[in-house]
Symmetry: C2
Subunit: 154 residues, 2 copies
């Protein structure tokens, strides 16, 4: 790092700061109704959404952490809190080195089913409705591309 840093241009800075801020504002705003009306945090919702997308409603902890882009310790703590509330169950597998599973419970399915219609409306009203279909497609492509690059790098 002896060369002088390649500082961000004004547009690069707007894109990077914009990404961080837009994410934080959207997570905060969509989280409000999840919390007040359904007693779920945005993070609870995200975990339940990933688990209910897969056939058995269960994923390996390591796999879920990778999908979400979370550190394993963050996921472990969060899953432990959700398990206490009966939303998920942790399934240990002592004979398998690839580690524990986490599975959605019946209560977890009920919770996300109740919250989903309102949450989807919020995601539309706060975010997608402000963008054109072309912008949404570009964002989908951009995030797929970056995530793919990061996966191959890691």
């Amino acid at each position: 790092m002896s060369d002088s840093p390649r500082w961000l241009s004004a547009t690069e800075m707007r894109a990077w700061r914009g990404l961080l801020r837009m994410h934080d504002v959207l997570v905060h705003r969509t989280g409000r109704s999840l919390q007040s009306e359904f007693g779920l945090s945005g993070t609870d919702y995200t975990v339940l959404a990933e688990l209910t997308r897969v056939p058995d409603g269960r994923l390996r902890m390591v796999e879920l952490a990778r999908t979400l882009g979370w550190e394993k310790s963050r996921l472990s703590h969060h899953v432990a809190r959700m398990a206490k509330r009966g939303l998920v169950e942790r399934e240990e597998c002592t004979d398998d080195r690839r580690g524990a599973y986490v599975a959605v419970t019946w209560e977890g399915r009920e919770a996300i089913t109740a919250a989903a219609p309102r949450h989807v409306e919020d995601v539309r009203a706060l975010f997608l409705d402000h963008l054109t279909p072309g912008q949404i497609t570009l964002l989908a492509e951009m995030t797929d591309l970056v995530l793919e690059k990061l996966r191959t790098d890691d």
Copy 2:
């Protein structure tokens, strides 16, 4: 909410999930070197970056919370932790109803100055280098637009 929910299309889902995941992976990955090499979390860096952007190095707590898109309680807790480590100072103003300020300290300036070159390289290598200048501009425009809409709505 008696009408059936307008569920997200596959592309809308890719854009929304992609935004959440890309954010989380990038924050996690850029946070690693901040933490291990400079003892700063990504959140510390973000707060210091906002404070060192303004002439006096100080902002009202409410203003900073709005800029970052954070809840006031989240910012208060985080600022309290940073103040303990000497990175920022909280300045109360009892005669002013608009509330307390937070200011970067000399140590805070040193910390971000030390970390910035590496952090900017990480943001490039993990994120910006994967995108074309056109995509970066589009992302900047998109995030500006959404943040502006959310500001007017609130």
